[in-house]
């Protein structure tokens, strides 16, 4: 059978017979990718204005939308604590805001269970913009009009980048569930 079509006994996760996904990969990939996305923007030198949206938060939203129920409802708190170590916000801001975002998505999902791409994008976009404003307010600096002005591209970029990051999360999900372990 494999001689006729190499992918005959495979699906998107790889060959099905004799194979299983690696358990550590199944559990760790969402958390590892969100933490990596939190830590990566540190490497940019942004001396005049915030350059990038909070990739960690967008990654959290993407995983939550792509795989509902994979991250527990309380996952926002520990992941937010990790983000706070790098983001420059006062410690606790992401713990609070990420927890609230997880609860908000859960409530929205309970109210509108039949979702689609556009609704996901709309939800994530609204939450990303509210998060952007809230994190500016609690940043510990006095909010000046100039600060809002230079941070506006950050909000726009956050909304526009969501679909890209959701695709990345979907790709990581395929990697997560790919059958890497051979059962003897």
């Amino acid at each position: 059978m494999e001689r006729l079509d190499p992918r005959a006994r495979s699906d998107i996760y790889g060959p099905r017979i004799n194979r299983a996904p690696a358990p550590w990969r199944v559990r760790s990939v969402p958390y590892a990718s969100i933490m990596l996305a939190s830590a990566l923007p540190v490497l940019l030198i942004a001396d005049t204005m915030p350059l990038a949206p909070s990739f960690g938060f967008l990654m959290l939203l993407a995983w939550r939308m792509v795989r509902p129920g994979l991250l527990p409802l309380w996952a926002g708190a520990p992941l937010g604590a990790f983000d706070d170590l790098f983001s420059g916000q006062p410690f606790g801001s992401a713990i609070l805001l990420w927890s609230l975002a997880m609860i908000a998505i859960e409530a929205i999902e309970a109210r509108f269970p039949w979702r689609g791409f556009w609704q996901d994008w709309f939800t994530a976009g609204v939450i990303a913009v509210v998060y952007w404003l809230a994190s500016l307010v609690v940043s510990g600096a006095s909010l000046t009009p100039e600060m809002l002005l230079v941070a506006a591209p950050q909000a726009l970029l956050g909304v526009l980048l969501y679909p890209v990051i959701a695709r990345a999360a979907a790709g990581l999900d395929r990697f997560r569930l790919s059958r890497a372990r051979t059962i003897d």
Partner: protein, 325 residues
């Protein structure tokens, strides 16, 4: 797509309880987050050790990207240089000739300065840098403008120390880890720096606006003496910076001062140096509670660790300006 039906609790008591526990834990997380947020807004340095640890972890990666960044900047500058090499060459020759004359004049002034200082019995305020390191990263997603520096308490860096590049002031050390530290950049909207005009003694405060420009606020209001193109340097008031380091150039005049552009842009620097606090003893004195005797002030003078986020407040420069006159 509807969420998987396995997430509905149905009649299962266990599923109902676990769903409820999830909500409870998430709400508890939010409450704990709010409490921590209030604590860190009240005491900004409360979680400095944790952040220092995190900074130590990313610094090695940051050093690599910082080196790559410096290399690519040189490459672009080199490429652009080829296009206008001829005209630039002639202009640079002319400038170089003038600069040599000025340099000779400056040498003479320096010699005279040293002689006069010697006459007055003033010791030279030139201090050696504590550490020289690269800026390895920054808080690019936040509204705050902090940078990470690749040197920490292991090299003797302490909170409050000024960070300078070869062009001018970058900022001030806010928190330190073992091998990294966090620098409050001048552009942060919480940063305040006492400055004066380079050519005379018009004193002012340079406040970060949060958008990459500085707001220069004059201390003595009245007729605004500033002009576009004026260079502002540190005044030395407050005791953190040594006087006469370039800070910013006025780009626009406002009724109470001006808007200024930075002289030393952190993104364009390669290496920066951390200098000791200029008047460490005076700052220890200022930070000591009123009525504290010499024994109480002595340990804090040995390890000057002032309130990290408190930039010299408008109250502090009165003492500093008095000391300068």
């Amino acid at each position: 797509m509807a969420p998987p039906s396995s997430r509905r609790a149905g009649f299962s008591k266990k599923a109902q309880l676990s769903l409820f526990t999830g909500y409870l834990l998430a709400a508890a997380g939010a409450v704990v987050g709010a409490a921590l947020l209030a604590l860190s807004l009240w005491q900004p340095s409360a979680f400095a050790p944790l952040r220092g640890l995190a900074g130590d972890v990313v610094t090695p990666v940051g050093s690599g990207t910082a080196a790559a960044r410096a290399g690519s900047q040189g490459l672009f500058a080199g490429l652009i240089g080829y296009f206008n090499a001829g005209t630039q060459n002639a202009e640079l020759r002319r400038e170089n000739a003038i600069a040599r004359i000025r340099l000779a004049e400056a040498e003479a002034v320096k010699a005279e300065n040293a002689r006069l200082k010697g006459l007055l019995g003033l010791r030279d305020g030139e201090s050696k840098p504590v550490a020289t390191a690269r800026l390895v990263g920054s808080t690019a997603t936040s509204g705050r403008r902090h940078a990470y520096l690749g040197a920490g308490s292991a090299s003797g860096v302490a909170p409050g120390m000024p960070v300078l590049s070869e062009r001018g002031v970058i900022g001030r050390v806010l928190e330190t880890g073992r091998f990294s530290s966090r620098v409050l950049l001048l552009t942060d909207s919480e940063s305040v720096l006492p400055v004066r005009r380079a050519k005379d003694n018009v004193i002012a405060f340079a406040e970060g606006r949060g958008d990459g420009l500085l707001r220069i606020r004059l201390v003595n209001l009245g007729v605004n003496p500033l002009k576009v193109g004026d260079m502002m340097v540190t005044s030395g008031a407050g005791g953190y910076y040594r006087p006469g380091v370039a800070v910013a150039i006025i780009a626009k005049i406002t009724p109470d001062g001006g808007i200024a552009r930075l002289v030393a842009e952190p993104a364009a620097t390669n290496f920066v140096s951390v200098l000791p606090i200029h008047e460490a003893a005076a700052i220890a004195e200022l930070d000591a509670p009123p009525g504290a005797d010499a024994p109480a002030a002595a340990p804090s003078a040995a390890a000057p660790a002032p309130r990290p986020s408190a930039a010299p407040t408008p109250a502090a420069p009165d003492g500093g300006a008095g000391a300068e006159e």
